[in-house]
Protein backbone atom coordinates (compact mmCIF):
# COMPACT_ATOMS: atom_id res chain seq x y z
CA UNK A 1 0.00 0.00 0.00
CA UNK A 2 1.21 3.46 -0.91
CA UNK A 3 -0.61 6.58 0.20
CA UNK A 4 -0.17 9.96 -1.45
CA UNK A 5 -1.82 13.19 -0.34
CA UNK A 6 -2.09 16.84 -1.25
CA UNK A 7 -4.18 19.79 -0.11
CA UNK A 8 -5.78 22.06 -2.68
CA UNK A 9 -8.37 24.74 -2.01
CA UNK A 10 -9.08 23.52 1.50
CA UNK A 11 -9.63 19.95 0.30
CA UNK A 12 -7.36 17.08 1.30
CA UNK A 13 -6.98 14.63 -1.59
CA UNK A 14 -5.72 11.16 -0.61
CA UNK A 15 -4.73 8.55 -3.17
CA UNK A 16 -4.64 4.91 -2.05
CA UNK A 17 -2.38 2.77 -4.25
CA UNK A 18 -2.22 -1.03 -3.94
CA UNK A 19 -4.22 -3.56 -1.94
CA UNK A 20 -6.22 -2.82 1.18
CA UNK A 21 -6.62 -5.97 3.25
CA UNK A 22 -5.76 -7.19 6.75
CA UNK A 23 -2.06 -7.10 5.94
CA UNK A 24 -2.03 -3.45 4.88
CA UNK A 25 -4.80 -2.24 7.23
CA UNK A 26 -2.62 -1.18 10.16
CA UNK A 27 -0.22 0.82 7.98
CA UNK A 28 -3.16 2.41 6.14
CA UNK A 29 -4.91 3.30 9.39
CA UNK A 30 -1.81 4.88 10.99
CA UNK A 31 -0.77 6.76 7.86
CA UNK A 32 -4.24 8.17 7.19
CA UNK A 33 -4.56 9.30 10.81
CA UNK A 34 -1.23 11.13 10.56
CA UNK A 35 -2.35 12.86 7.36
CA UNK A 36 -5.83 13.61 8.72
CA UNK A 37 -4.39 15.17 11.88
CA UNK A 38 -3.04 18.12 9.88
CA UNK A 39 -5.32 21.15 10.31
CA UNK A 40 -5.25 22.77 6.85
CA UNK A 41 -8.39 21.36 5.20
CA UNK A 42 -12.12 21.11 5.81
CA UNK A 43 -13.04 18.27 3.47
CA UNK A 44 -11.41 14.95 2.49
CA UNK A 45 -11.58 13.12 -0.84
CA UNK A 46 -10.25 9.55 -0.89
CA UNK A 47 -9.31 8.61 -4.45
CA UNK A 48 -9.46 4.85 -5.08
CA UNK A 49 -8.45 4.90 -8.75
CA UNK A 50 -5.15 3.14 -7.92
CA UNK A 51 -6.61 0.66 -5.41
CA UNK A 52 -6.27 -2.78 -6.99
CA UNK A 53 -8.01 -4.80 -4.27
CA UNK A 54 -10.11 -4.27 -1.18
CA UNK A 55 -12.10 -6.55 1.12
CA UNK A 56 -14.27 -5.87 4.17
CA UNK A 57 -11.20 -5.06 6.26
CA UNK A 58 -10.94 -1.93 4.14
CA UNK A 59 -14.50 -1.01 5.05
CA UNK A 60 -13.52 -1.21 8.73
CA UNK A 61 -10.55 1.09 8.10
CA UNK A 62 -12.70 3.65 6.26
CA UNK A 63 -15.48 3.61 8.88
CA UNK A 64 -12.85 4.15 11.58
CA UNK A 65 -11.55 7.23 9.77
CA UNK A 66 -15.11 8.50 9.30
CA UNK A 67 -15.71 8.29 13.06
CA UNK A 68 -12.52 10.24 13.80
CA UNK A 69 -13.33 13.00 11.29
CA UNK A 70 -16.99 13.19 12.29
CA UNK A 71 -15.87 14.52 15.68
CA UNK A 72 -14.11 17.35 13.82
CA UNK A 73 -17.11 17.95 11.48
CA UNK A 74 -14.98 17.08 8.44
CA UNK A 75 -16.75 15.13 5.70
CA UNK A 76 -15.08 12.35 3.71
CA UNK A 77 -15.95 11.56 0.10
CA UNK A 78 -15.02 8.61 -2.13
CA UNK A 79 -13.76 9.14 -5.68
CA UNK A 80 -13.07 6.72 -8.54
CA UNK A 81 -13.94 3.38 -6.90
CA UNK A 82 -13.55 0.27 -9.04
CA UNK A 83 -16.70 -1.69 -9.88
CA UNK A 84 -15.57 -4.22 -7.29
CA UNK A 85 -15.08 -1.62 -4.53
CA UNK A 86 -18.41 -0.07 -5.45
CA UNK A 87 -20.10 -3.44 -4.97
CA UNK A 88 -18.70 -3.69 -1.44
CA UNK A 89 -19.59 -0.06 -0.64
CA UNK A 90 -23.20 -0.53 -1.71
CA UNK A 91 -23.46 -3.82 0.18
CA UNK A 92 -22.17 -2.30 3.40
CA UNK A 93 -23.92 1.07 3.09
CA UNK A 94 -20.62 2.97 3.18
CA UNK A 95 -21.92 5.58 0.74
CA UNK A 96 -24.46 6.61 3.39
CA UNK A 97 -21.63 8.10 5.44
CA UNK A 98 -18.99 8.69 2.72
CA UNK A 99 -20.78 9.82 -0.44
CA UNK A 100 -19.30 9.14 -3.85
CA UNK A 101 -18.26 12.17 -5.85
CA UNK A 102 -17.82 12.19 -9.62
Amino acid sequence: MQIKSRVHGGVLYVLLCGELDEHSATYTRITLDEIFDKPDFNKIVIDLSELSFMDSTGIGVLIGRYKRMKDKSISIYIANPSAHAEKIFKMTGLYDIMPKIV
Partner: protein
Protein backbone atom coordinates in the same frame (compact mmCIF):
# COMPACT_ATOMS: atom_id res chain seq x y z
CA UNK B 1 -18.86 -34.97 -14.46
CA UNK B 2 -16.49 -34.39 -17.38
CA UNK B 3 -13.73 -32.32 -15.89
CA UNK B 4 -12.11 -32.45 -12.48
CA UNK B 5 -9.03 -30.84 -10.94
CA UNK B 6 -7.90 -29.67 -7.54
CA UNK B 7 -5.08 -27.99 -5.68
CA UNK B 8 -4.32 -27.64 -1.99
CA UNK B 9 -1.83 -25.45 -0.17
CA UNK B 10 -1.03 -25.02 3.51
CA UNK B 11 0.42 -21.84 4.93
CA UNK B 12 0.83 -20.12 8.27
CA UNK B 13 -2.04 -17.91 9.47
CA UNK B 14 -0.24 -14.65 8.82
CA UNK B 15 -1.74 -11.62 7.11
CA UNK B 16 1.18 -11.49 4.68
CA UNK B 17 -0.16 -14.73 3.17
CA UNK B 18 -3.55 -13.25 2.26
CA UNK B 19 -2.32 -11.90 -1.05
CA UNK B 20 -0.67 -15.23 -1.81
CA UNK B 21 -3.94 -17.08 -1.11
CA UNK B 22 -5.88 -14.76 -3.42
CA UNK B 23 -3.41 -15.05 -6.28
CA UNK B 24 -3.05 -18.80 -5.79
CA UNK B 25 -6.79 -19.46 -6.15
CA UNK B 26 -7.22 -16.95 -8.96
CA UNK B 27 -4.36 -18.49 -10.94
CA UNK B 28 -5.79 -21.98 -10.51
CA UNK B 29 -9.30 -20.94 -11.55
CA UNK B 30 -8.08 -19.27 -14.75
CA UNK B 31 -8.25 -22.67 -16.52
CA UNK B 32 -12.07 -22.31 -16.49
CA UNK B 33 -11.84 -18.95 -18.26
CA UNK B 34 -13.85 -16.99 -15.69
CA UNK B 35 -14.77 -13.35 -16.22
CA UNK B 36 -12.81 -10.64 -14.44
CA UNK B 37 -15.83 -10.05 -12.19
CA UNK B 38 -16.02 -13.73 -11.27
CA UNK B 39 -12.31 -13.92 -10.45
CA UNK B 40 -12.55 -10.75 -8.35
CA UNK B 41 -15.53 -12.17 -6.46
CA UNK B 42 -13.61 -15.38 -5.74
CA UNK B 43 -10.47 -13.52 -4.66
CA UNK B 44 -12.49 -11.38 -2.29
CA UNK B 45 -14.30 -14.34 -0.74
CA UNK B 46 -10.97 -16.15 -0.25
CA UNK B 47 -9.49 -13.03 1.32
CA UNK B 48 -12.39 -12.81 3.79
CA UNK B 49 -12.12 -16.47 4.79
CA UNK B 50 -8.34 -16.31 5.22
CA UNK B 51 -8.62 -13.05 7.18
CA UNK B 52 -10.93 -14.82 9.62
CA UNK B 53 -8.25 -17.47 10.17
CA UNK B 54 -5.55 -14.82 10.64
CA UNK B 55 -7.58 -12.65 13.02
CA UNK B 56 -9.72 -15.11 14.96
CA UNK B 57 -8.55 -18.72 14.71
CA UNK B 58 -5.30 -18.48 16.66
CA UNK B 59 -5.60 -15.91 19.48
CA UNK B 60 -2.18 -16.71 20.94
CA UNK B 61 1.00 -15.37 19.40
CA UNK B 62 1.74 -18.83 18.00
CA UNK B 63 -0.06 -18.98 14.67
CA UNK B 64 -1.23 -22.28 13.26
CA UNK B 65 -1.95 -23.46 9.75
CA UNK B 66 -4.48 -22.46 7.12
CA UNK B 67 -5.37 -25.11 4.54
CA UNK B 68 -6.67 -23.72 1.27
CA UNK B 69 -8.21 -26.19 -1.14
CA UNK B 70 -9.72 -25.40 -4.52
CA UNK B 71 -11.62 -28.00 -6.52
CA UNK B 72 -12.94 -27.63 -10.05
CA UNK B 73 -15.70 -29.89 -11.31
CA UNK B 74 -16.91 -28.88 -14.76
CA UNK B 75 -18.00 -25.26 -14.31
CA UNK B 76 -18.20 -25.37 -10.50
CA UNK B 77 -15.48 -23.94 -8.25
CA UNK B 78 -15.41 -25.19 -4.66
CA UNK B 79 -13.06 -23.49 -2.21
CA UNK B 80 -12.49 -24.76 1.30
CA UNK B 81 -10.55 -22.72 3.87
CA UNK B 82 -9.75 -24.68 7.02
CA UNK B 83 -7.95 -23.84 10.24
CA UNK B 84 -7.20 -25.83 13.38
CA UNK B 85 -7.87 -22.96 15.73
CA UNK B 86 -10.25 -22.24 18.59
CA UNK B 87 -13.43 -22.35 16.51
CA UNK B 88 -16.39 -19.99 16.31
CA UNK B 89 -18.61 -20.07 19.40
CA UNK B 90 -21.80 -19.05 17.62
CA UNK B 91 -21.64 -19.50 13.85
CA UNK B 92 -25.14 -18.14 13.26
CA UNK B 93 -24.29 -14.95 15.14
CA UNK B 94 -20.93 -14.64 13.36
CA UNK B 95 -22.71 -14.71 10.00
CA UNK B 96 -24.96 -11.77 10.86
CA UNK B 97 -24.09 -8.55 8.97
CA UNK B 98 -22.04 -6.06 11.00
CA UNK B 99 -21.44 -8.53 13.84
CA UNK B 100 -17.86 -8.58 15.09
CA UNK B 101 -16.41 -10.27 18.14
CA UNK B 102 -13.74 -7.55 18.23
CA UNK B 103 -15.65 -4.23 18.15
CA UNK B 104 -12.66 -2.31 19.55
CA UNK B 105 -10.56 -3.12 16.46
CA UNK B 106 -12.49 -1.14 13.82
CA UNK B 107 -13.75 -4.27 12.09
CA UNK B 108 -16.73 -4.02 9.77
CA UNK B 109 -18.22 -7.39 10.70
CA UNK B 110 -19.07 -7.94 7.04
CA UNK B 111 -16.72 -10.81 6.21
CA UNK B 112 -19.30 -13.57 5.98
CA UNK B 113 -21.80 -11.24 4.30
CA UNK B 114 -19.25 -10.50 1.58
CA UNK B 115 -18.55 -14.22 1.14
CA UNK B 116 -22.27 -14.95 0.85
CA UNK B 117 -22.81 -12.13 -1.63
CA UNK B 118 -19.88 -12.97 -3.88
CA UNK B 119 -20.24 -16.77 -3.89
CA UNK B 120 -23.26 -18.94 -4.70
CA UNK B 121 -23.15 -20.93 -1.47
CA UNK B 122 -21.22 -20.66 1.81
CA UNK B 123 -21.21 -23.35 4.49
CA UNK B 124 -19.44 -23.05 7.82
CA UNK B 125 -18.54 -25.91 10.14
CA UNK B 126 -16.86 -25.11 13.43
CA UNK B 127 -16.00 -26.70 16.74
CA UNK B 128 -13.31 -26.24 19.39
CA UNK B 129 -10.75 -27.93 17.12
CA UNK B 130 -11.12 -25.57 14.19
CA UNK B 131 -13.26 -24.06 11.47
CA UNK B 132 -13.94 -24.93 7.86
CA UNK B 133 -15.57 -22.56 5.38
CA UNK B 134 -16.72 -24.17 2.14
CA UNK B 135 -17.76 -21.89 -0.71
CA UNK B 136 -18.96 -22.67 -4.21
CA UNK B 137 -19.40 -20.60 -7.33
CA UNK B 138 -20.49 -21.55 -10.80
CA UNK B 139 -18.47 -20.03 -13.63
CA UNK B 140 -21.01 -18.70 -16.11
CA UNK B 141 -19.11 -19.40 -19.31
CA UNK B 142 -16.50 -21.94 -18.30
CA UNK B 143 -14.03 -22.59 -21.09
CA UNK B 144 -15.53 -25.27 -23.36
CA UNK B 145 -12.07 -26.44 -24.38
CA UNK B 146 -11.49 -27.45 -20.77
CA UNK B 147 -14.86 -28.67 -19.53
CA UNK B 148 -16.00 -29.99 -22.89
Amino acid sequence: MKYSNFMEVTFKALSVNEGFARVCVASFCVQLNPSVDEITDIKTAVSEAVTNCVVHAYPSSVKGDVILRCELEDDLVTITVTDKGVGIKDVEKAREPFYTSKPSEERSGMGFTVMESFMDDVRVASNSFGTSVKMTKKISQACEQVVG
